[in-house]
Amino acid sequence: MADRIAHHVRDLPRSGIRDFFEIVQSMKEVISLGIGEPDFMTPWHIREAAIYSLEKGHTGYTSNLGLPRLRAVISKYVEEHFSVSYQPEREIIVTVGVSEAIDIAIRALVNPGDEVLYHEPCYVSYSPSVVLAHGVPVAIPTKSEDDFALDAEALATRITPRSKVLLLNFPTNPTGATMDRARMEKIAALCVKHDLIVITDEIYSEIRYDGSEHVSIAAMPGMRERTLLLHGVSKAFAMTGFRIGFGCGPQDLVEAMMKVHQYAMLCAPITSQEAAVEALLHGAPAVENMRREYELRRNYIVSSLNDMGLETFLPRGSFYVFPRIESTGMSSRDFAMGLLKAENVAAVPGPAFGAPGEGYLRCSYATALPKIKEAMSRMTRYVERARKGQFAEAV
């Protein structure tokens, strides 16, 4: 059968995360800093709303675009949080997570050979989604000197006449990078100048620290008409398994996405949509509690990593830190495998998120503090031994 698989799918590399997952899964008693989802349970009032929805027997399809009530609530939420307004009837589509939204948006926009720009290190699905749509992914490396923010000059050098779409994700998985207003304005100006369409994945926008503001490119002058704003309830509301994302953008684009969505997915599950209504309407206090807890853990983990001599910048968003492990003299993969074998601590090697991730490790702090603490003390021991070259042969 292998020779019958479509070539562009056959040639797609497996996710680096997948390989690592299989090794970790085979081991026992592992403390995992490799988990890209909240450790909190979905707040009870949201779970209760989902149960109530089932009790009432709401188990059918919904409109392809999503429940009208949910779209109305999304419109209000987005206006309050991102300062840009969308009509619930025509400019909002509810999807099965932001992942589906990215896929159908790229499929709706990209002709074969069109180039899609994105910043790396980044979430694992961006490049494959472009390839699956027969587009050409063009990575723009971000650097630790810029705290992994996207530099306008770096973007400018990669724009060609075939460039069509720019994919953004701030706060960023895996680096925790954020963009301040001045930086984002420069990116917006380039998008206008080169007529780029922007897909902005802002799934971590509520999880911000130090009182920093969230800057959405969609709200900048001249951007609304060329931007698709993606968000969802997975991260902030701890609802990953509910699979609810949404896209807000110009009517023509939402209509085109809807065509792909209706044939591939039909609609997002109704129970989850009704839970999302409850989350967006009444979830703010729970979100704030979780955010505060993440902030304390962030302080803890960043300070511990820096104390081990692993240079780590203090991220202002998401629940990831991206320590630089180069100083140990090991590659990311060797470091991560060694850490797993020697100390039973799992953290994802940076290159799983693109080549510029080499020399780094992604550590998620969506894990209870006592576990983080234990992981940090094991990691300190490991780094000390690694510096003495004790793992040079063993890995």
Binding site: S15, I17, V24, Q25, G36, Y123, R292, N299, Y300
Partner: protein, 159 residues
């Protein structure tokens, strides 16, 4: 609430070095802040949250609705403080609504609590009436659910 107080409220036993790291402060600064909160009376004390079913702690607990006569000048305060001073009284609140004080009383036996109400509480001058409700079962104590929720099974590594 102050993040320091928030953390201590959840776990008063958290080691100082951890607390300092979480707050981004030095250990000395953290200790100074705790000492200040204690001196200000923001922190009143530190207690373990016990499961009454397993420990027999306050094996009989009652909440008592108490109606009292307010006094000229002092309102309810003098009488409420007088009631609150009894060792049997765990908590005492002034309430809005159909009664004045809500008093939580614990004791070793039903008889002990009943005799406290009959002989001590009801006889305090100014107490007009009491209505005593005994606790049957505890589901949540000080923000902690007694039936622990299972940890959800998360994938060990996810994107």
């Amino acid at each position: 609430m102050d993040p320091l107080l928030q953390i201590l409220r959840q776990n008063a036993l958290i080691p100082r070095p951890d607390l300092a790291r979480m707050l981004g402060l030095s250990e000395a600064e953290t200790s100074a802040q705790i000492a200040a909160a204690e001196a200000d009376g923001k922190i009143l004390g530190y207690q373990a949250v016990l499961d009454p079913e397993k420990t027999g702690n306050g094996s009989v607990t009652a909440v008592i609705e108490v109606k009292i006569t307010p006094e000229r000048g002092g309102g309810f305060d003098r009488l409420a403080q007088r009631i609150a001073r009894f060792d049997e009284v765990e908590s005492c609140y002034l309430m809005s609504g159909g009664y004045d004080l809500l008093v939580v009383v614990t004791g070793e036996s039903l008889r002990q609590v009943a005799s406290f109400v009959a002989e001590r509480l009801s006889t305090v001058e100014g107490v007009l009436s009491t209505a005593t409700h005994f606790r049957l079962k505890c589901y949540k104590e000080n923000g902690t659910l007694l039936a622990r929720e299972e940890e959800p099974n998360r994938l060990v590594v996810s994107p």
